[in-house]
Amino acid sequence: MPNSQLSRRSLLQGGAIIVGFTLSRALPAMAGTAPSKPVALDEVDSYLALERDGSAIIYSGKVDLGTGVRTALTQMAADELDLPLSRVRVIQGDTALTPDQGPTYGSLSIQNGGTQIRTAAATARRKLIQLASERLGTPMDALVTKDGRVAPAAGGEGIAYAELLKDGHFALKLDKDAPSKNPDDFSLVGKSVPRLDIPAKIYATFTYMQDVMLPGMLHGRVIRPPAIEARLTGVDEASVAGIPGLVKVVREGDFLGVVATSEWAAIKAAQKLSATWSKAETLPEQAKLWEHVRATPVVKEDTTSNVGDADGAMAQAARKLKATYDFAIHTHGSIGPSCAVAQPEGDALTVWTASQMTHALRTQLSAMFSLPPEKVRCIYVEGSGCYGRNGHEDAAADAAILARAVGKPVRVQWSRADEHGWDPKGPPTLIDLSAGLDDKGAVTAWSSQFHIPVGAAGTVPLVAATLAGLPHETALAPGNIVHNSAIPYGFPNVKTVCRRLATTPLRPSWIRTPGRMQNTFANEAFLDECAAAAGIDPLEYRLRSLNDPRGIEVLKRLAALAKWESRPSPKGEGKEAGGDVQTGRGLSYVKYELYRTYVAALAEVEVERSSGTIRAKRVFVVQDCGQIINPDGVRNQIEGNVIQTVSRVLKEEVMFDRSRVTSTDWASYPILTFPEVPEIVMELIDRPRDKPWGAGEPSAAVIPSAISNAVYDAIGLRLRSVPFTPEKVKTALQRT
């Protein structure tokens, strides 16, 4: 079956000439019946198979979202199996082939997904040694594995894995007690193995989701309502009748889309299609967003920590501080708009998708179309980076509804406005804090309330299902946003409460470091307020209340790395001494979810008083994420976390009117550009004998507070509202 094809309409003259151009793009898997294999979480065969040629296939439910996880998982599996890297390949996120290891989010791909694969590999290796022991008559402990063979430690050729396991199947349960490799013997783990995907991406031979083509595939586009919850009252199909290549206008409830033989025809039809919609104004006034959030009914209160008697101690405190922090609505902003291809076959449906959660998507699609789950197959293909639950799943539902309407495979790619306007958003976060200090400036009481939507990670309702009136969820799924509302410091009286709101403007979901970023922003900036009020150096202030050795180590190493000068903030140069541009430094610390990855960061900023512009000049990061699988991969993730978060903090805010999102392109939702990118200096602490923890998110959590604290250090002005736009800085400066 051809894997790639040229459009039928395109008559490429001088046919032979074109051959060299036509790249045959192997799809990760073709539709239809997949080979039957176990996918249960407790079976070794679910995770790995040995091929006749001695190579191994790893089946991973966690997928590479452009983070390098495929390379890291390959390292872990190859090392544990004693196979060269080149003889291990990974199949990711195919509901017919891979175990459901949960969505690829929360910095858990290595920590959970990789650890499961490592356990499977360790169990498999023990079995191979056992089989060799029987064949050779040598005790198991006198055998070693090397380069795809089990051989006597004393010497000898041994037996190739493929010969030991003739059919490639282990038929074994995962055994977490199977001996994992001694970290001293790792040859791949802990090394900066170059990423397996990068050359193909540089030479344009990589197949992104956006590149997937099927034989006979048509192109679809969606037409979203001009207002959220507007009803579709009429469609004038004559308005697009003249567009060559148009196949069908698809309407189902308030879902509207077009299908055409070419992508450009679909785009033109979507732009030209005339439709009428009812008016709808369901969003709050943006200028009054925080009043709206504060007035939203509270469904429940989650007390995330309660130590001592915070209220009582607050009343007794020598000095009291109170502040309110807020963090704007953000969009994921993938550079490639969401894309999917769906292929209907009878009552079955196959979807190629860049979803971070193909298994959950299968459940959603089977509910949407009232199909048994086994009739729906979702196959992961890497797309543009998604940073959380963006629009990939929604594009899959769009493609599916259009493909079913025309009975042919349909590819849908969203427009930029679809992406900015309709991907789910990081919800607005409002946080009230108060602290009581004793006469020496130490915190005796800490109390905080987080006004955040109800719900956890779960699944986000699919736009197409909602618009078409097909079965869909109604519960909010903003992510596990209560994390890091509690604090890592040992204050004697602490109470942190999340007030879970019944609703939030715009469909919420998780964006990189959901909740942990917003909550850490408020906690670490407010702690800096306490340190400043006490007139104590912010590093010293943190160290006094920390009793966690790994936390103390990242902070001390950061101080050394950044040549920390001990003094309280602000720097106190004043307007007169500092001139128009003033500099400052700010510190922040997080223990991610209060049980894993430790990060300390320091931001150096320049503030230009006349324009209100903040420039992040340099950011220092020290991270301890336990065992490091690929140091350069971790560095790449930290760089990404820093730069993306500097962008979010200095520039980003989703704009909306009463009906819809109005920031629907890069001009109205600007992100950081090259001249604005800070220098990044980092140090990694590797602990090869410890568990590997996540690295994809934690270092983002500390950036907003580090910048806020640095601005305070520079100009003595406390920024409590993300983004820190020049307008906000100027307005605040005028008030001083």
């Binding site: 040229l6 459009s7 309409r9 395109s10 008559l11 490429l12 001088g14 000439i17 074109i18 151009f21 790249l23 793009r25 452009g66 983070t67 390098g68 170059p194 990423r195 995907d197 990068i198 050359p199 991406k201 540089i202 030479y203 344009a204 197949t207 992104y208 956006q210 590149d211 070419s262 992508e263 450009w264 025809a265 033109k268 902003g333 550079i335 490639g336 708009p337 890497e382 797309g383 543009s384 980076g385 790619q413 427009s415 930029r416 790449n636 760089e639 990404g640 976390n641 820093v642 993306q644 392109d665 890069w666 001009a667 992100i671 950081l672 550009t673 090259f674 001249p675 220098e679 990044i680």
Partner: protein, 156 residues
């Protein structure tokens, strides 16, 4: 019936037949010619993912109607810039610096940088950053990209 258009892409001549001569070059390259180096990012000329070279200049193919190109225009895509066997110095440097995360924007980064180095073989860091000001990356790979361009410049 579509109109026939002659093109020179990556050094080869071919012709394509299109219903709409205003079809942006991006869709012609991706869907008619099967070249997936240039990518759709915004359709507005704001992000740079679709960048190709037209007569040596970096051009946003998503807002370049085919009809605006002269028949003799020489179009080069990422595929035509170099191959693993014969890489362009910028491509080799991007691999060396591991300068990609998701890599969706990387086409634009490489094509824009290659055009920059052709005009200005020894740019300063500030000049590199300025040359890439209109190319957006969401993963935050900027630091590596700048290092890769510096490495490529040093190798020229």
């Amino acid at each position: 019936m579509g109109q026939s258009h002659s093109l020179t892409i990556n050094g080869r001549s071919l012709s394509v037949s299109l219903d709409d001569p205003d079809t942006p070059l991006l869709y012609v390259l991706r869907n008619e010619v099967g070249l997936h180096g240039p990518r759709f990012g915004c359709g507005l000329g704001q992000c740079g993912s679709c960048t190709v070279h037209v007569d040596g200049q970096a051009v946003r193919s998503c807002v370049t109607p085919l009809s605006s190109l002269k028949p003799e225009a020489k179009i080069v895509t990422l595929e035509g810039l170099g191959t693993p066997e014969a890489p362009h110095p910028v491509q080799a440097a991007f691999v060396e610096e591991q300068a990609a995360q998701c890599g969706y924007c990387i086409n634009g980064m490489i094509m824009t940088s290659a055009a920059l180095l052709k005009d200005k073989p020894k740019p300063s860091e500030a000049e590199i950053r300025q040359a890439l000001v209109g190319n957006l990356c969401r993963c935050g790979t900027h630091a590596r990209i700048v290092r890769a361009v510096q490495r490529a410049a040093a190798s020229l």
